[in-house]
């Protein structure tokens, strides 16, 4: 970079960071104020989201950290290597603008924003990550590491199979994960021992257990707004895992109480909505906020960034490395419903199961413009839902606020039509 370019870069970086803070605060305010009856236990999660936006996440032990680009990265290995996994898939409009210049015009907002974050150095922590792990889930993410942008942080491409059911695919993935383990040891300089990995698996299992409890609580009635639920899951990567877990446990306790309290009387019935498709990641909560403002109640979502994030478990038969690593790999592959896999009928099975368990009245399907995989799968999902007589609203959107008006009209009409049929 020459001097001029350098200056321009500095300006872009500073501007994007500033906008990210404003944008995030607006969303948080909207979440906290536009709806009455906030749950006290949510304070913590709002707080973490704010720190994230300001690039001030806490890392008191000054641990090394690894940026992950997708939930397919086995974080247990990162914990076991004594480092922190921080997910950097971004939901920020400001960042998507910063990244858009570097990528082809039709790239999806999420990928633009993630590249923008890396490029403008807007990581949620003050230091830079040791490496950025990118699973080969979608073509655009996969290619991020090859975009000429002068980024000096090394990328690590975590190879994923295109299918998950075949023996070959599973074998491929085991080897990929095993290789990652070695790489992480090299990058962090810490050996991943049997007992460290076991501890990490249990630590994550504790979070999973709280998360599953939270998930169950939402089945019976809408004890919490779906937007809040999405935010809770989003913050998982932004604080010490034990702290996060303990806050979720106390929130669960609060929700248990609300459940029994609210149960007597007032049968005001809101249309129960299931959200699925391209993931809403803070601060891009445009669509969920819109749905709930229009009187819909998001009772569940099938997003990799929220409900799917911590659901699947690890079952180890023999607590030795040779069984722990494949067991860990299984958690990220076998039950995963990412559209990058073909065939992926598990996704429609899951959506149908959610519709039954969460008593869903209608499905909203979000596709980011340019996100081919979710666009493609929407065809199959909408056919399945039609057969089941469940109404579905297909929304193609991106991170820009421009389509808010049009979104409002469409979601309102959709929710009204469900209401009329309740």
């Amino acid at each position: 970079m020459n001097k001029n370019e350098n200056k321009r870069y500095e300006r872009l970086s500073a501007k994007s960071k500033g906008q990210l803070i404003i944008e995030s605060e607006n969303v948080l305010q909207e979440m906290q104020q536009k709806f009455e009856n906030t749950i006290p236990g949510m304070e913590y999660f709002y707080d973490v989201a704010k720190q994230y936006a300001g690039g001030q996440l806490k890392n008191p032990e000054r641990k090394k950290y690894i940026a992950t680009n997708c939930i397919q990265v086995p974080i247990e290995l990162i914990y076991a290597a004594n480092a922190l996994p921080i997910r950097i898939c971004s939901g920020a409009y400001s960042m998507s603008q910063a990244g858009a210049g570097l990528l082809p015009a039709k790239s999806c907002s999420l990928v633009n924003a993630t590249l923008g974050t890396i490029y403008t150095n807007s990581f949620p922590l003050a230091q830079k990550p040791l490496t950025i792990i990118t699973p080969t889930t979608c073509d655009q993410k996969k290619k991020l590491s090859e975009i000429p942008s002068g980024i000096d942080i090394p990328f690590y491409t975590l190879e994923m199979p295109p299918s998950k059911d075949s023996e070959e695919a599973q074998e491929y993935w085991y080897r990929s994960v095993k290789k990652l383990k070695g790489e992480l040891e090299r990058i962090t300089g810490n050996r991943i021992t049997r007992s460290k990995l076991k501890k990490a698996i249990i630590k994550v299992a504790q979070a999973q257990r709280a998360f599953r409890h939270f998930h169950q609580l939402r089945k019976e009635e809408a004890v919490i707004r779906g937007t809040d639920a999405i935010l809770i899951a989003n913050t998982f990567f932004y604080d010490n895992i034990d702290t996060w877990t303990s806050h979720l446990v106390s929130l669960n306790a609060e929700l248990e109480m609300r459940k029994s309290r609210d149960h007597n009387g007032s049968e005001s019935r809101y249309p129960r909505i299931l959200l699925t498709g391209s993931p809403s990641i803070f601060p891009n909560l445009k669509l969920p906020i819109m749905i709930e403002k229009m009187g819909g109640s998001i009772v569940a979502d099938e997003f990799c960034s929220s409900n799917r994030l911590l659901y699947d478990t690890v079952a180890v038969d023999e607590w030795n490395m040779y069984d722990m690593v494949p067991a860990l790999s299984d958690r990220y592959l076998k039950a995963c419903t990412c559209p990058c896999f073909t065939p992926n009928n598990d996704r429609e099975r899951k959506i149908l199961a959610y519709i039954k368990d969460f008593k869903v009245d209608g499905v909203v399907y979000q596709s980011f413009s340019g996100c081919q995989l979710y666009e493609l799968e929407s065809l199959r999902i909408s056919a399945v839902l039609e057969k089941e007589n469940v109404p579905m609203l297909y929304v193609e959107t991106d991170y820009s606020p421009d389509d808010k008006g049009q979104l409002a009209t469409r979601t309102e009409a959709f929710i009204e039509s469900i209401k009329n049929n309740l």
């Binding site: 299992a205 079952a315 038969d317 299984d330 199961a353």
Partner: protein, 322 residues
């Protein structure tokens, strides 16, 4: 676990207590062990098959039918849980597995193709085991009668014949019988199978069970049993936990979401899969129609990861620091 050990003690040492429990005990309650309280059904069936056709359909046939009936009755009640909880050979294999686990040595699994091919062996053994004794008294397809030294042919190669007496300190079965060629071949085969049993089950969990003719015989009656392993495919996420812990390596337990009766021919009804399933009500064992044990989310976390219900701290330290 405890039950398994009790059953092992009973079937190996029961004779000391003058316990006698009949001749139709499924397997490997091996009478070659002098203190065994009963007789493996496989030895009875082989003896009974050693009859001429005429008598098989006459009086002897009745004896055959009666013992078959009592064998079947046992299975109607406990199904293949015999294998998971009672069979001494199964228990011995589990001990060998434990030893390997302690030593930190990895186990192996068959790939899908080998699994499919090898599983047929137990049926072949079952057929031979009935066919050879029959052939000692009847000419089958015009073949000459088989040598009488082939009596109870499966027992001659069954590892149970050599191993179970060892537990009462009897090494008399550990030899090669040089009487004639047939006995020599059969007894050497026996020793070879024993070696395979020991080595195989060290590297592969329940190695022998996969080839066990008893398992094949059980399976014929399994459908009619009162004890059933049931799956509700709607609740299954195909996470594969159940397959991961399955000692015989039955993939269908995770991948089959259509059928509800889940006792496959290799299954030994150990119910480890139920313990490892994190979905409420997805896998269960039921007796008649009453559920006895079900998979639950809570149960998954407490059993597999020792997380108890109130706190988020592990209730038991299962992490030994290195």
């Amino acid at each position: 676990m405890v039950f398994q050990i009790l059953a092992f003690l009973l079937l190996i040492y029961g004779g000391y207590l003058s316990i006698h429990i009949g001749t139709s005990i499924p397997t490997f309650a091996c009478p070659y062990n002098q203190e065994c309280p009963g007789t493996c059904y496989l030895i009875s069936v082989q003896h009974q098959a050693h009859n001429t056709w005429a008598s098989l359909f006459g009086f002897r046939g009745k004896a055959f039918l009666i013992s078959l009936l009592s064998f079947v009755l046992l299975f109607i009640v406990i199904n293949k849980a015999w294998c998971g909880y009672v069979c001494p050979l199964g228990t011995i294999q589990d001990w060998i597995t434990k030893l390997r686990n302690r030593m930190g040595i990895s186990f192996s699994r068959y790939d899908d193709l080998s699994f499919k091919r090898l599983k047929a062996i137990k049926y072949v053994l079952l057929v031979l085991l009935l066919f050879i004794p029959l052939g000692m008294s009847n000419s089958i397809f015009g073949l000459p009668l088989f040598s009488h030294d082939l009596g109870a042919p499966f027992c001659q190669i069954c590892p149970g014949r050599v191993i179970t007496p060892l537990f009462i300190g009897d090494t008399s079965q550990l030899f090669i019988d040089f009487t004639n060629t047939t006995t020599m071949i059969m007894s050497s085969l026996g020793i070879i199978v024993l070696a395979m049993f020991l080595i195989g089950s060290f590297f592969k969990k329940r190695f022998f069970c996969f080839f066990c003719p008893m398992s094949a015989l059980h399976y014929l009656f399994s459908r009619f049993s009162m004890l059933r392993l049931i799956k509700n495919g709607d609740n299954c996420t195909k996470c594969g936990n159940c397959y991961r812990v399955c000692d015989v390596g039955i993939k269908a337990i995770a991948e089959d979401i259509e059928h509800s009766y889940m006792v496959k021919d290799d299954c030994m009804m150990c119910f480890k899969c139920i313990e490892a399933c994190p979905e409420n009500d997805c896998l269960k064992v039921s007796f008649l129609t009453m559920p006895v044990f079900k998979s639950t989310e809570e149960g998954f976390f407490s059993r597999n990861l020792h997380l108890n219900s109130e706190m988020q701290k592990p209730s038991k330290t299962i992490i030994e620091d290195e």
